[in-house]
C-alpha cells in the first residue's frame, strides 16, 4: 500500500509527461492521483497500531550485495508527516495555477515531487532516502524556475545549489555510516538497532556533523537559511506551500530519523549544541521576519522560527538525559506535531500569498490596506492561519510548542526560557501583517480586489479545519505519534 502511494504519483507524472493530455484533463488526473495517494496512506493509517514500531512494511530486493532494497514502512514519526504531506499535495495541486502555461508539465512535475516526497518519508532504506532527497530538489527546482516570477531562475538555482551542497554532505555521511556495518546494509531498522558508530572516536562526530549541516541547510537553521526567502518569494504559491510544508520537514525528519535514532550516543553528546542552534534560529527567524516589508518573505522567515522549535524538540528528545524520559517524550511528540502543524498552517499561508499574487502581483505590505471589506473570507483564512502560526491555543501550533517548551525546560531551563521570547515577536509580526493588509484605509488601486474563489476557499477550509481539530482535540494525533522510548530509539 505504501509502495502504491509512492509509485502512483511517479507513474502519473510519467503519463502526463509522455501523453499529450489536454490541460484540463491533466489537472483532473493530477488531483485524482494525489487523492489516491492520500487514500492509500489513510488506509495504512486505519490499520496502524500506535507505538508498535515500523508497520505496513514491504521489501523487495534490489542490490543485495550492497544491502540496498526497496523498503517502505511507517512508524509514529513518519506516518503523521506523510499524511500531512499527502494532504498538502492534494491542496497544492488542486490550487489554481498562477500562470496557466504548460499545465501538463506543471502537474507532471508536481506529481514527480509528490512521489519523491512521500518516498522520502516512507522509505526504510537509507540509499533510497538519499535518492528521494535529491529527486525532491530536482522537482522543486523546475517548479520554481519555470513557473515562478521575479528572479525565479536565480532563486531556483540558489535553492538547488545550496541544498545540493547539503545533500552532498548527507551522502558522504550516509556512506561513512553504512561503511561501519558489516555486512553492508542500508536498512534503517538494522542501522537503528546496530548503532554503527556507538563508542567511536572523532569520526562519529564528523559523520554527525555531516548530517547536521546537511539537514540544517534543508530545514533550514541559522545560519544556513538564506536560500529560503528568495526561493519562497519567487516561487508560485502552491510550490511555496510544498516547499515550506513538505520539503522543510525533510530536514527535521532526517535529523530525527538518522542523526537521532541511528547515532544515539553521538547525538546525545551534541544535543545541547543542536539545541542552541535551534534557539538561535527561533529568535533570529522571528526577529528578521519582523523587519520584512515583503509579506511572503516575512512568512518565509517565520518558517526558520518554527523549524527551530521542531529541531529544539528533537534535540531535547535525543539528549538522553536520564531521569527526564517523560519530558523527552513530550518534546518529541511536540516536534512531530510541530511538523504537521507547520505544514498545514504555513502551507495555507503560502497558498493565500499565491492568491494575492494572482490578484495583484505584489507582496509589498505598504501597498495593501483595508481589504477586510472586499475580501472577508480571505481575511478569515489568513487571520486564522496567522493566529495558528503565532501559537494561539485551540490551534495546532500551540499543542506543539507548549509540549516542546515543557520538555525543553525540563532538560535545559534557560534555553526554553529564552526560546519563549520568540512567541512574543511572532505575535507582533503576524498582527502587524494582518493589520497592514486587511485593516485601515484601502488604497484606491485595490478597489477591484476579489475575495477567495470557491475552489480556493474550500481548499483552505479543509487545511484550516484540521488545524483547529488538532488544536482542540490533539489526542488522536498524539496517540498516533505515541512518542515513547520505542519511538525515540527506533521502532521496536
Amino acid at each position: 500500500m505504501l509502495t502504491l502511494a509512492v509509485l502512483l504519483p511517479f507513474a502519473a507524472a510519467a503519463l502526463l509527461a509522455f501523453a499529450p493530455v489536454p490541460a484540463g484533463a491533466s489537472r483532473a488526473i493530477a488531483i485524482a492521483t494525489a487523492a489516491l495517494a492520500l487514500l492509500a496512506l489513510v488506509v495504512v493509517w486505519a490499520g496502524f497500531t500506535p507505538g508498535a514500531g515500523f508497520q505496513a512494511v514491504t521489501e523487495a530486493p534490489w542490490l543485495p550485495a550492497l544491502g540496498v532494497a526497496w523498503r517502505v514502512g511507517v512508524d509514529g514519526l513518519s506516518l503523521p508527516v506523510a499524511l500531512m504531506s499527502g494532504l498538502l499535495f492534494v491542496a497544492a495541486i488542486a490550487w489554481p495555477m498562477e500562470r496557466e502555461v504548460n499545465a501538463r508539465q506543471y502537474y507532471a512535475w508536481f506529481l514527480f515531487l509528490e512521489g519523491a516526497s512521500l518516498g522520502l518519508f516512507l522509505t526504510l532504506d537509507l540509499l533510497l532516502f538519499y535518492v528521494f532527497f535529491d529527486l525532491s530538489l530536482v522537482g522543486m527546482y523546475f517548479l520554481i524556475g519555470r513557473w515562478g516570477h521575479g528572479e525565479a531562475q536565480r532563486a531556483a538555482l540558489k535553492f538547488f545549489l545550496y541544498t545540493l551542497a547539503g545533500s552532498l554532505l548527507i551522502l558522504l555521511a550516509i556512506i561513512a555510516l553504512v561503511l561501519m556495518t558489516d555486512p553492508l546494509t542500508f536498512d534503517m531498522r538494522e542501522l537503528i538497532a546496530l548503532q554503527p558508530v556507538a563508542g567511536m572516536d572523532v569520526r562519529a562526530g564528523l559523520i554527525l556533523l555531516g548530517f547536521v549541516i546537511g539537514f540544517a541547510i534543508k530545514t533550514p537553521l541559522f545560519p544556513v537559511h538564506t536560500w529560503l526567502p528568495p526561493a519562497h518569494v519567487d516561487a508560485p504559491g502552491p510550490a511555496s506551500a510544498i516547499l515550506a510544508g513538505v520539503l522543510l520537514k525533510m530536514g527535521v525528519y532526517g535529523l530525527a530519523r538518522i542523526a537521532m535514532q541511528m547515532m544515539r550516543e553521538t547525538f546525545a553528546a551534541w544535543a545541547l549544541a543542536i539545541g542552541i542552534v535551534a534557539l538561535i534560529s527561533i529568535l533570529w527567524g522571528s526577529i528578521v521576519a519582523f523587519a520584512q516589508e515583503n509579506f511572503k518573505r516575512r512568512i518565509a522567515y517565520t518558517s526558520v522560527n518554527h523549524m527551530g522549535y521542531a529541531v529544539l524538540g528533537i534535540a531535547v528528545a535525543g539528549s538522553a538525559v536520564t531521569g527526564h524520559e517523560a519530558a523527552r517524550d513530550l518534546a518529541l511528540a511536540g516536534a512531530v506535531v510541530e511538523m504537521v502543524a507547520h505544514g498545514l498552517i504555513t502551507g495555507a499561508l503560502f497558498l493565500i500569498a499565491g492568491a494575492f499574487w494572482a490578484r495583484t502581483q505584489d507582496y509589498e505590505l505598504d501597498h495593501y490596506g483595508g481589504l477586510a471589506g472586499n475580501a472577508p473570507r480571505m481575511m478569515a483564512a489568513m487571520g486564522l492561519a496567522s493566529f495558528a502560526s503565532l501559537g494561539l491555543p485551540g490551534l495546532a501550533s500551540f499543542v506543539a510548542e507548549v509540549q516542546i517548551f515543557i520538555g525543553a525546560f525540563a532538560i535545559w531551563p534557560w534555553l526554553a526560557a529564552l526560546a519563549l521570547l520568540g512567541l512574543i515577536v511572532t505575535a507582533a509580526l503576524f498582527l502587524g501583517m494582518l493589520q497592514r493588509i486587511f485593516f485601515g484605509d484601502r488604497p484606491p488601486a485595490l478597489d477591484g480586489f476579489t475575495d477567495l474563489t470557491r475552489t480556493e476557499g474550500c481548499i483552505l477550509a479543509a487545511l484550516l479545519a484540521l488545524v483547529v481539530l488538532i488544536g482542540v482535540w490533539p489526542a488522536w494525533l498524539l496517540d498516533m505519534i505515541a512518542a515513547g522510548p520505542a519511538l525515540a530509539f527506533g521502532g521496536g
Partner: protein, 631 residues
C-alpha cells in the same frame, strides 16, 4: 460537564457571528438569550459542583473544577455580560454588530474556561484566547488604522505577560511532573519561585498593573461596551482572580506576597493619580480600573484572596455601568473629552444611575464596593499600619476621581446631547446600578456569615480614618472638577510610561530587527555567495589551466589536469546531452528526459558551471573521505 460553561457561550458566539448582521432585536435576543443560558449553566454548575476532564494526549489532562471563589466569579461573568450585551445590541454600530456580540460571547467563554480551570494548561488556553478576543474587539472598528494598532498593542503587551504563565507551567511540570493546581503545592525552591512570579507577571499584565498599565489606555479605542466587558467581566478582572485562586499554593514562595503588595499598591496610587488628572472619560475609568485591581492585589498579598474576589465582584457591578454611561455621554457629546460634557439637565436618568455607580467607585457606604474596600483596608492594616494608611490614601484617590468623573460628565451644564440612549440600554445601565446598590447587603453581618471565606477584622479607628480620607477625596474631586479648565497635564498619560515604552522598548526593537534583517542579507548570505565566488575562481583557474595546458601539457601535474579535464568533460557532456536529446529525439521514450533537458537549458545561467565545479570538489572530498574513513 463543566466544559459546557465555556463551550456554550463560545459556540453560540461563533454561531451568531456566522449568522451575520440583522435587526438589533434579533441580535439582542440571540446574544442575550445565549448569555442567560450561560448564566443558568453557571448556576447549575455551582449548585451541583460540576467538574470536567478532557484527555489532551501525551500524558496531559485538562481539568476543570469550581471552588466557592471561582463559582462567584463564574456567576459574575455572564451576569455582567448580559447587561453589557443588551446595551451593545442597542447602541453599537449596526454594521458588524453580529461580530461584536459574537466575539463578546466567545470572550466570556474563554473567561469561564480560565475561571473554572483546575490546571495550568486549561488556564493558559482560556487566558490566551481572551487575548485574541481583546485584539479583535479593540480593533472592532477596523477601518480606523489606530484601533487595530491598539488591538495589536494590547495583544502583544498581554502576551508578554502570558510568557510568565508559560514559565509557570514549565516550572511546575519540571518540579512536579504534572500541571494541575495541586501540583503547585508540591513545588519548592526555584521552581516554586518561577511558578509564583510567572503567575504574578501574567496576572499583572492582564490586570494592567505597573509597567503593563498602558495597554488599558490603548484598549480604550474599542467601543465602550467592549471596555465595559473587558474591565468588569473578563480579561482585566482575570488578573486579580488568578492571584486569588492560586494564592493558597503560591503564598509560600519567598518574597511573593511582598511583591504582589508592592505591585498592587504602586499601581493603586499611580493609577489613582493618573485618573485624577485624566481629561478623557474612558481613560479616566481605565486608570481607575488599574488602581482598583491594584487594591485587589494588595488584598491577595496580605493573605485575603476572598476579599479580593469580593471586591472584584463589586467592582464588576460598578465599572460596567460606568463604562456604558461613558459611552452614552461620549455619544451625546461627540467626544470623550470630559470638558465637553455636563448632562445633568438633559440626561437626568442617566446622571442618576451613573451617580450610584460613581458613589460605589468612591466606596461610599452603604454600597457594596465600600464594604469590600474597607475589608481591603483592614486586611492591609493587618499586614502593617503603613500599608493600611497607603490603601486609605488610594481610597481617597478613588473618591476623588469618581467624584470628578461624575461632576464633569453629568454635572450641571448646558450641552445639548447629540444622541440619546435607547430604553434597552437604559435598562442595562439601571440593572447594573441596582446591582451596586444590592451588593450593599454585604454590610449586614448575617450576609457576611454566609460568605465562604476568612475576613479581616477592621478596627473602628481605621474605619473612621478611612471614611475621613474618603470625604476629603470626594471634596477634592469636586473642587478639581469645578476648576477644570487647563489642558490636562502630560503626566495624565500614565506618567509618561507609554512614551518610555515606545522609546525604550518598541523603537529599539524595531531598529534591532531592521539591523538583523540587513545582517541576514549582507553577512549570512555571504556564505553561499562566497562559495559561489570561490567556485567561479576555481572554474576560471581551471579554464586558465586548460589554456596553458594547450600550450604545454608536460609542465603540469597530471593530477591537476585530470581534475580540470573531468570537470570540463562533465560540464560539456551534460550540456550536450540535453541539447541532443531535445533537438534529436522529439518522440518516444526519451521525451521526458528531453523535457527536463529543455527545462534545464531554459534555466541556464552563467552559474551552472559553478555547480559542476562544486560537484567536482564534492566528489573529490567524498573520495578522500572514503580513503581515510576506511584506513
Amino acid at each position: 460537564m463543566l466544559f459546557a460553561l465555556s463551550l456554550f457561550p463560545a459556540l453560540a458566539g461563533l454561531a451568531i457571528w456566522a449568522w451575520g448582521d440583522g435587526s438589533r432585536l434579533r441580535l439582542g435576543l440571540m446574544a442575550g438569550g445565549a448569555t442567560v443560558v450561560t448564566l443558568l449553566l453557571a448556576v447549575l454548575a455551582a449548585a451541583q459542583g460540576w467538574t470536567g476532564g478532557f484527555t489532551w494526549g501525551a500524558g496531559l489532562e485538562l481539568q476543570l473544577a469550581l471552588t466557592p471563589l471561582s463559582a462567584a466569579v463564574a456567576l459574575t461573568v455572564p451576569a455582567v455580560a448580559l447587561a453589557v450585551l443588551v446595551f451593545a445590541a442597542a447602541h453599537d454600530e449596526a454594521c458588524g454588530l453580529a461580530r461584536l456580540l459574537g466575539l463578546m460571547l466567545v470572550f466570556c467563554g474563554a473567561m469561564e474556561l480560565a475561571v473554572t480551570a483546575a490546571d495550568l494548561l486549561s488556564l493558559l488556553i482560556g487566558w490566551e484566547v481572551m487575548g485574541f478576543c481583546s485584539w479583535a474587539l479593540i480593533g472592532h472598528l477596523w477601518r480606523d488604522d489606530a484601533t487595530m494598532a491598539s488591538g495589536r498593542y494590547a495583544f502583544v503587551t498581554t502576551r508578554l505577560g502570558d510568557l510568565g504563565l508559560f514559565l509557570a507551567l514549565m516550572a511546575t511540570w519540571r518540579g512536579a511532573g504534572a500541571l494541575d493546581y495541586a501540583a503547585l503545592g508540591r513545588l519548592d525552591g526555584l521552581p516554586l519561585a518561577l511558578a509564583a512570579f510567572g503567575v504574578l507577571i501574567a496576572a499583572g499584565a492582564k490586570a494592567g498593573q505597573g509597567p503593563f498599565a498602558p495597554w488599558l489606555f490603548r484598549a480604550m479605542d474599542g467601543p465602550s461596551s467592549v471596555s465595559a466587558l473587558l474591565h468588569a467581566a473578563t480579561m482585566v478582572a482575570a488578573g486579580a482572580y488568578l492571584l486569588a485562586r492560586l494564592h493558597p499554593w503560591l503564598a509560600s514562595a519567598p518574597g511573593w506576597s511582598g511583591a504582589v503588595i508592592a505591585l498592587g499598591l504602586a499601581t493603586a496610587l499611580a493609577g489613582g493619580a493618573v485618573a485624577v488628572m485624566q481629561g478623557h472619560a474612558k481613560k479616566l475609568l481605565a486608570a481607575s480600573t488599574s488602581a482598583q485591581l491594584g487594591l485587589m492585589f494588595v488584598a491577595v498579598g496580605a493573605g485575603y484572596p476572598g476579599v479580593a474576589v469580593a471586591h472584584q465582584v463589586a467592582h464588576a457591578a460598578l465599572k460596567a455601568p460606568l463604562f456604558l454611561s461613558a459611552g452614552i455621554a461620549g455619544d451625546a457629546a461627540g467626544t470623550y473629552r470630559l470638558r465637553a460634557m455636563g448632562f445633568l439637565r438633559t440626561l437626568p436618568w442617566v446622571a442618576g444611575l451613573t451617580a450610584l455607580a460613581a458613589l460605589a467607585l468612591a466606596a461610599v457606604p452603604p454600597l457594596g464596593a465600600a464594604w469590600s474596600k474597607e475589608q481591603i483596608t483592614a486586611a492591609a492594616g493587618h499586614e502593617s499600619l503603613w500599608l493600611g494608611l497607603a490603601v486609605m490614601v488610594a481610597g481617597a484617590f478613588s473618591a476623588a476621581y469618581a467624584a470628578r468623573f461624575w461632576w464633569l460628565a453629568y454635572g450641571p451644564g448646558d450641552v445639548l446631547p447629540k444622541a440619546r440612549p435607547r430604553w434597552s440600554g437604559m435598562a442595562a445601565l439601571g440593572a447594573l446600578a441596582l446591582a451596586c446598590l444590592g451588593l450593599g447587603l454585604l454590610w449586614l453581618p448575617p450576609v457576611q456569615d454566609t460568605l465562604p471565606m476568612r475576613l479581616p477584622e477592621g478596627k473602628p479607628l481605621e474605619i473612621a480614618v478611612s471614611l475621613t480620607l474618603l470625604a476629603v477625596g470626594l471634596l477634592a474631586g469636586l473642587t478639581l472638577a469645578r476648576r477644570e479648565t487647563a489642558p490636562e497635564p502630560r503626566a495624565a498619560d500614565w506618567l509618561g510610561l507609554p512614551a518610555l515604552i515606545e522609546r525604550g522598548i518598541i523603537r529599539p526593537f524595531e531598529r534591532l530587527a531592521a539591523l538583523a534583517a540587513r545582517l541576514d542579507d549582507a553577512v549570512l548570505d555571504a556564505i553561499p555567495r562566497g562559495a559561489a565566488t570561490g567556485a567561479r575562481h576555481v572554474a576560471r583557474g581551471g579554464r586558465r589551466a586548460w589554456g596553458a595546458m594547450q600550450a604545454d601539457r608536460d609542465i603540469f601535474n597530471a593530477a591537476v589536469w585530470q581534475v580540470a579535464a573531468m570537470t570540463r568533460a562533465v560540464a560539456r557532456r551534460s550540456d550536450g546531452a540535453g541539447e541532443t536529446l531535445c533537438d534529436g529525439l522529439p518522440e518516444g521514450a526519451a521525451r521526458i528526459t528531453g523535457r527536463s533537458g529543455a527545462d534545464a537549458r531554459r534555466l541556464q545561467t552563467g552559474l551552472s558551471h559553478h555547480y559542476y565545479a562544486i560537484f567536482g570538489i564534492g566528489a573529490l572530498l567524498a573520495i578522500l573521505m572514503l580513503i581515510f574513513g576506511k584506513a
